[in-house]
Amino acid sequence: MPPRSNLLGWVRALVVGLALIVGASACDRGAPTVAPVSSLAPAAAPAAPTELVVFAAASLREPFQAIGEQLVNAHAGLRIAYNFAGSQELRTQLDNGAHADVFASADQANMAPLEKAGRVGAAMAFARNQLVIAVAPESATRIRALADLPLAQRIVIGAPEAPIGRYTETVLDNAQRAFGGQFRRAVDAHVVSRELNVKQVLAKVTLGEADAAIVYRSDAVAAKGKVVVVAIPPELNVDASYPIASVTGATNATLGRAFIELVRSPAGQTQLVQAGFLPAAPTFAGP
């Protein structure tokens, strides 16, 4: 009975096909964050009482993991689940009820609305960051300063939705005012992608797919040896202030506060400075 078995085959193909389409869009959700394990974190139920869930801007990956290790060493049985992603993505997740104990954002714009809505407690600035140009080694002779950026064949920057994208816009606008001419237009003509978090921006240069990218100073430190760092003049740069807050209704409020205190302590600040951040300004100044 060939027609029947063929029909069955068709139905099977259809079912598999549809399942794959649905499945594909489901796993796609996690694709832009580099660490699939960490992006699964919000879905995990707060079953173990000693699991601290930290939502942090993608740029905080290295120092926060080091700081978290210190906290784990001081508290036996503690496990920290991180969710590193674009601050706007974390804010969306928190808006939609994701479970977390601590939220650290790369800008005030993604913290203030949560603070206003009572989703997080009082936010405190704990670090500052600046932008640099990460250049692929093979393009390092051509791109030596911000003014050389139009010489890059392919530039990758942050999406305007992400903090890194908005800071980049500010720097490029400042540069246009300073350099004049066609600077901004020439840069825009070479932008090939706008990524949703800074680690994805950086990855395009470390992969060799882009010649230049605008990232945080801390990311350039994290990618030491794989990219050449070109500084952006301080008068054209931004002062990216990072706020941190405990999430309202956190299961581990005490431990969350301990994490925040550690981040703001001299030990935490040392880790942040080692990672390429600047210490927080004594008085908070939002971007």
Binding site: L7, L20, A24, A31, V156, G208
Partner: protein
């Protein structure tokens, strides 16, 4: 006596059916609920307002353009491939068939990285294909390539089974009447397999419209150039939820139309064989 047994059997049958209804129905509700809630929580005026969001227009045009080009590529290249695979039945050919199916089971993110390693700037073919420093990655062409890569196997698979369903006698008659292999393919095989080919094309189109992971990795995310509808939905979700919602409703509606087309084609090819 027989009536009694039949009644008893029917009663036992209906009990069994009720027992199966619970898990089956639960799954159906689970599958129907998300699309339904998406639809119910979107009102029409909101839909039209969101469609004027700056992300929407370019993404819509780009998705229409790239998926139509990739669909054309898939059909033009996939039909001959499926025919050749359907004709030959040796073991190595079956291995080739498996190879052509591989992208179906490949996670989209893996497909994206694989495409980068093949066609990226430092990819396997970079020295051969591109002049210095050039690469197809992060261009509109990369979007088309990603869509073709993930969607072609669905079409090839459907075309393959449509070709295999053709009565071998008809092909034999054509050959005995002196038709060349090319003529048999164009005048006999393709017309007979047409409903199956159409169904496969619809499935493949739906898959490429929904393509996300491979595009994001291989083509990037730039409005007007590489930001297709799914990428625009993902980007908008983080700034403008109503726009993301409207785009989702739009894509879902179109995918539903494709599904109906595919099922109609499936019924026709089933009736004809």
């Amino acid at each position: 006596m027989i009536g009694h047994t039949a009644r008893m059997l029917r009663r036992r049958g209906s009990f069994g059916r009720a027992l199966l209804l619970v898990p089956g129905g639960a799954l159906l509700v689970f599958l129907a609920l998300p699309p339904l809630s998406l639809l119910l929580s979107t009102d029409v005026s909101q839909l039209f307002a969101a469609l004027s969001h700056p992300l929407v227009g370019p993404a819509l045009r780009l998705s229409a353009f790239t998926t139509l080009v990739s669909l054309a590529l898939v059909v033009l290249l996939g039909t001959p491939l499926a025919w050749l695979l359907a004709q030959a039945r040796s073991k190595p050919v079956r291995a080739l068939e498996t190879l052509a199916q591989l992208p179906i089971v490949m996670p989209p993110a893996v497909a994206g990285i694989a495409l980068l390693f093949a066609f990226g700037r430092r990819g396997l073919l970079s020295g051969v294909v591109y002049p210095r420093g050039q690469s197809v990655a992060f261009t509109t062409l990369a979007v088309i390539m990603a869509e073709t890569f993930v969607s072609a196997p669905f079409f090839v698979q459907a075309a393959l089974s449509a070709f295999r369903r053709i009565d071998p006698g008809l092909l034999l008659v054509a050959r005995s009447l002196g038709a060349s292999p090319l003529r048999i393919f164009v005048r006999v095989a393709v017309p007979l397999a047409l409903p199956g080919l159409a169904g496969g094309a619809a499935l493949s189109w739906a898959r490429s419209l929904g393509e996300f992971g491979a595009t994001l990795m291989f083509a990037g995310n730039l409005a007007g150039k590489t930001q297709t509808l799914p990428l625009a939905i993902y980007t908008a979700l983080e700034s403008d939820l109503p726009a993301a919602q409207a785009l989702s409703v739009l894509l879902m509606g179109f995918a539903f139309v494709l599904l109906v087309v595919m099922r109609a084609a499936l019924r026709r090819s089933g009736a004809e064989s």
